[in-house]
């Protein structure tokens, strides 16, 4: 057995020793060259976790995920095929964030193979990976950057060894480039020709070579287009909704008029079964399922179904009652106000929907002794376990395929639709392709729940000496696997006591970036039974928005410019650097007409540092512009994001995530929310839930990626939302002269006529040909 060598220590100098990881390499028994790697020595990471004053600064949510993934991270493999391509089944979901492209770049880099020759697919649920198959917390790049590169580097080493053996030369004399091994004498061979001879009949351990240093990178760190871009623009990319599985006919569900309502009786099931195209009707836990030749015929059946519904879980709740419950649960401040030297503020954030554009969907084919599921799942192992339990099957009898998702934003952390598809398939005894309707997604799907954030800061002798933030939220469900991850690592976490899942995640993801003396940020939750879950950036958009608005107030109280004030109080030099860059490039302090203003927000999370600077137009002409079936309101006209991602794997993909984060932030700050009335949201379409549209997106959008400050990537997928939300709120306050305290700012006015609650899915219009252009 070859001597095991250390992969190079990561030069990240943070005290968290998690990045000093080592791997075992294996040559796997396979027809062509296949390399597996396994992480070893997680205890080293354990010992390196220091005891912090504020947990997030040195041990964050991503570190938790890295730690949970440590014992199994290595069970991943890169295969070199006989046609000279490489394959990798990624143990993460692709939902638009560009994971597959970044992974392909890692493999192409270490393997010296053209990017186009790397195929990345999505792995089925692999229970042996335990907690290392969870896509969330902006952690994928951080946790797989080294293992995937290591596997590819070993593959390259084995190809070289195979060529050296064939040519009877020393491996050191050979070089690799562009998918070829070459000897200085001109002899060369493609990887495809070597892949079979390099293959093994038994699995053996092999040496782990040194990875490339960033100075040697030709692919990593360079801007690359998405590997699936061509398939996307030609309509060939296959999402869950586009998959065809034999016998899996379109299926939809007629749903109750309140969240989590139940079926008491179906009056006309027999008549529904005779409707055109309809094959099956079955009552299930939260509705009546209809299977038909087309989704259109399912919708027709939903119009005709007569159902007696039982109560849901929050039938008496509306926006006002939820807010009252939150106010009652707010934790007290500890430090008394110092009268004129105190800033006290309280903010309310409405329910928001994490629904992506592709409606939740899943294919399920449940048989007597087995089941097969296809769905976009970020935690497929938990889905497999829970669906197996629900069906009364052993987990090994349930195959769960992860398919490409048309967005997620947190929604696909949960497998609600897959579980429902399995229930329906079992009940009908047939395969089904279940799609929730758009209205189902908004009204019955998971939400980012309403919350309040109270802040008190005290100034003494020209200095901010205390900062207290009390965040109160309807409970957020983390029952998708992150909870298990916390349990499995509980003894290693630097948060004390018996904090619940939500509180733990709050403490691991939140920290004040300012030197404000005595600082406490606490979460309290109200146990109302809404369907909730994480939404992109979880707590941070709300917490940071409240924080930055108060920071602007503190600056004003002390007679200082907002940027100047932040420069004085920021702790982290990386945050200071992005702040300064944003102020410079964004021309901070530029004179703007009345009703227009700039705003700035900063944030550090996932080991990244970021500043957003926006200009907002709150002039009456803009605010009152007429938008058909939509709302205008204030417009962010210019937006700038400066991001320090540690190391940017793919600057073009990173920039895309920042642009997306900004548009998310515009929606959260200004336009999009759910209005809860008598146990259900009123929103039923994208012309009700006002996510950012073309008429509200910035006319100028710029992203600056700072030079690398690390050899490790930070998390990026969620990073842009919080500081951008804060910057928009601060700009709005400066443009109008009034600090907003309720978000989104238009929540108080219902800007649409709600669809009826029954039928739960409205019928499609018939006048499409009158609207051509």
């Amino acid at each position: 057995m070859a001597e095991q060598r250390r992969s190079p220590d990561n030069s990240d100098t943070r005290p968290g020793g998690l990045r000093r990881r080592r791997f075992l390499g294996f040559l796997l028994a396979a027809p062509t060259l296949a390399i597996g790697v396994q992480l070893i020595d997680p205890k080293q990471a354990d010992a390196a976790v220091p005891s912090p004053p504020l947990p997030e600064e040195i041990f964050d949510l991503g570190d938790l995920q890295n730690l949970a993934a440590a014992p199994t991270a290595g069970l991943i493999s890169v295969v070199v095929n006989a046609d000279g391509t490489a394959s990798f089944a990624a143990h993460r979901a692709e939902v638009g964030q560009g994971m597959t492209t970044a992974v392909a770049m890692m493999i192409a880099e270490e393997l010296d193979l053209p990017l186009a020759k790397v195929h990345v697919t999505l792995a089925d649920a692999r229970p042996e990976l335990l907690m290392n198959q969870l896509t969330g917390g902006s952690n994928s790049m951080r946790s797989i950057f080294l293992p995937v590169r290591t596997a590819a580097a070993i593959a390259r080493q084995q190809l070289v060894a195979a060529a050296a053996k064939q040519w009877n030369v020393a491996p050191a004399a050979l070089s690799t480039a562009n998918g070829m091994v070459t000897h200085p004498n001109g002899q060369s061979a493609g990887y495809g020709a070597l892949a079979v001879s390099a293959a093994a009949t038994t699995t053996t351990q092999v040496a782990v070579p040194k990875l490339k240093s960033p100075a040697q990178f030709t692919i990593l760190g360079t801007p690359r287009n998405r590997i699936d871009a061509h398939d996307i623009v030609t309509g060939r990319k296959t999402f869950g909704m586009d998959m065809r599985v034999p016998g899996a006919l379109p299926t939809m569900v007629a749903r109750p008029p309140t969240i989590n309502g139940t079926v008491v009786a179906v009056q006309n099931a027999a008549a529904i079964r005779t409707m055109p195209g309809v094959t099956d009707v079955a009552a299930v836990s939260h509705g009546v399922a209809v299977r038909a030749q087309t989704f259109g015929q399912c919708i027709d059946a939903i119009q005709a179904l007569q159902v007696t519904w039982g109560p849901g879980t929050v039938d008496t709740q509306s926006d006002a009652s939820v807010l009252a419950a939150l106010k009652k649960a707010e934790l007290p401040m500890v430090v008394p106000p110092l009268l004129a030297q105190t800033v006290d503020a309280e903010f309310t954030f409405a329910f928001a929907s994490n629904s992506p554009l592709e409606p939740d969907n899943a294919i399920a084919d449940v048989r007597a002794d087995s089941a097969e599921i296809w769905s976009s799942l970020k935690v497929p192992i938990v889905a497999q376990q829970e669906i197996a339990a629900q069906l009364g099957l052993p987990p090994s009898a349930v195959t769960v395929h992860v398919v490409q998702g048309g967005g997620s934003f947190g929604r696909h952390l949960f497998h609600d639709v897959a579980a429902e598809a399995a229930e329906i398939s079992q009940r009908m005894g047939k395969a089904v392709k279940l799609s929730w309707s758009r209205t189902d997604d908004f009204r019955q799907g998971r939400t980012h729940p309403m919350c309040t954030s109270r802040v008190r800061a005290n100034i003494l002798l020209g200095n901010v000496v205390t900062y207290e933030q009390r965040h109160t939220s309807v409970q957020t469900s983390f029952s998708h696997g992150l909870g298990e991850m916390i349990t499995s690592t509980a003894a290693k976490l630097p948060v004390a006591g018996n904090l619940g899942f939500a509180e733990t995640i709050f403490e691991l993801s939140q920290s004040s970036p300012y030197n404000f003396g005595v600082t406490t940020q606490l979460l309290n939750e109200v146990p109302l039974e809404f369907n909730t879950g994480s939404m992109r950036n979880i707590y941070s958009p709300n917490v940071v928005c409240a924080q930055e608005l108060v920071v602007d107030r503190l600056a004003a109280k002390m007679g200082k410019d907002p940027v100047e004030f932040r420069r004085e109080y920021l702790k982290d030099p990386r945050l200071l650097a992005v702040l300064n860059k944003a102020a410079e490039v964004g021309d901070w302090g530029a004179k703007l007409p009345a009703g227009m203003a700039q705003g700035i927000g900063v944030h550090a999370e996932y080991q990244g540092a970021i500043a957003s600077l926006v200009e907002i137009d709150c002039t009456p002409a803009t605010v009152n512009r007429q938008i058909q079936d939509g709302i205008g309101g204030p417009r962010v006209t210019k937006a700038l994001i400066v991001v320090d991602p540690g190391f940017a794997i793919n600057p073009r993909g990173l920039e895309a995530q920042m642009i997306g984060g900004m548009n998310d932030a515009i929606a959260l700050a200004l336009t999009s929310s759910l209005h809860i009335k008598d146990g259900i949201p009123l929103e039923g379409s994208w012309d009700n839930y006002f996510f950012t549209r073309e008429w509200n997106t910035p006319l100028e959008m710029q992203v600056i990626v700072m030079p690398s400050t690390s050899t490790s990537p930070s998390g990026a997928g969620e990073l842009g939302v919080a500081p951008s939300f804060a910057a928009i709120a601060c700009a709005y306050a400066r443009a109008t002269g009034t600090m907003p305290t309720s978000f989104p700012i238009n929540h108080g006015t219902l800007g649409f006529t709600p669809y009826p609650l029954e039928p739960s899915t409205p019928q499609s219009p018939v006048d499409g040909l009158t609207k051509t252009f």
Partner: protein
């Protein structure tokens, strides 16, 4: 069951289905043409945007009985053939700008963009920010700034 015939991406097709089934489901569920996406079925999100006789429309809101045998329906799959190329200039612009994130809305975005540019060109003018502001297609990933850049670049090549 009634039979319906129309020209789909250059080929005459017929399908047996009830009159009121919306064209989107005929395309997706019966003919297997999945470029036009289901995002709402309410003529709101515009993810299914395709062309009828060269103009943008949303098949989720058109009963198949309203489509005549001579009507030319073009989906994203048939767009390149309308210019006799492997890719339409707007698709090329989309690649150049690396517009897509999840990609679910992008077929509809591209079809809407082509129609909007044609409409503006027919009026004898260049595309403006006001024109772009009128496009209703949702991108939940929020790629709007790249969409706008791609439409302006693609328009130059159309």
């Amino acid at each position: 069951m009634p039979s319906h015939s129309f020209i789909l991406n250059g080929t005459q097709v017929s399908v047996d289905v009830d009159d009121d089934v919306r064209l989107l489901w005929v395309l997706r569920d019966l003919l297997g043409v999945t470029g036009p996406k289901y995002g709402c079925g309410l003529d709101v999100c515009k993810a299914c945007t395709s062309h009828i006789n060269g103009k943008a429309f949303n098949p989720c809101s058109v009963p198949v009985s309203q489509i005549k045998p001579a009507d030319e329906i073009t989906t994203i799959e048939g767009l390149p053939a309308t210019v006799g190329q492997d890719l339409h200039p707007m698709q090329e612009a989309w690649l150049d700008q690396d517009v897509a994130q999840c990609g679910y809305c992008q077929p509809g975005q591209i079809m809407a963009a082509v129609a909007k540019v044609k409409q503006v060109k027919a009026e004898g003018r260049e595309i403006t920010d006001d024109d772009l502001d009128q496009i209703r297609n949702i991108c939940r990933c929020g790629t709007y700034s790249r969409i706008r850049a791609a439409i302006k670049a693609g328009a130059q090549q159309m």
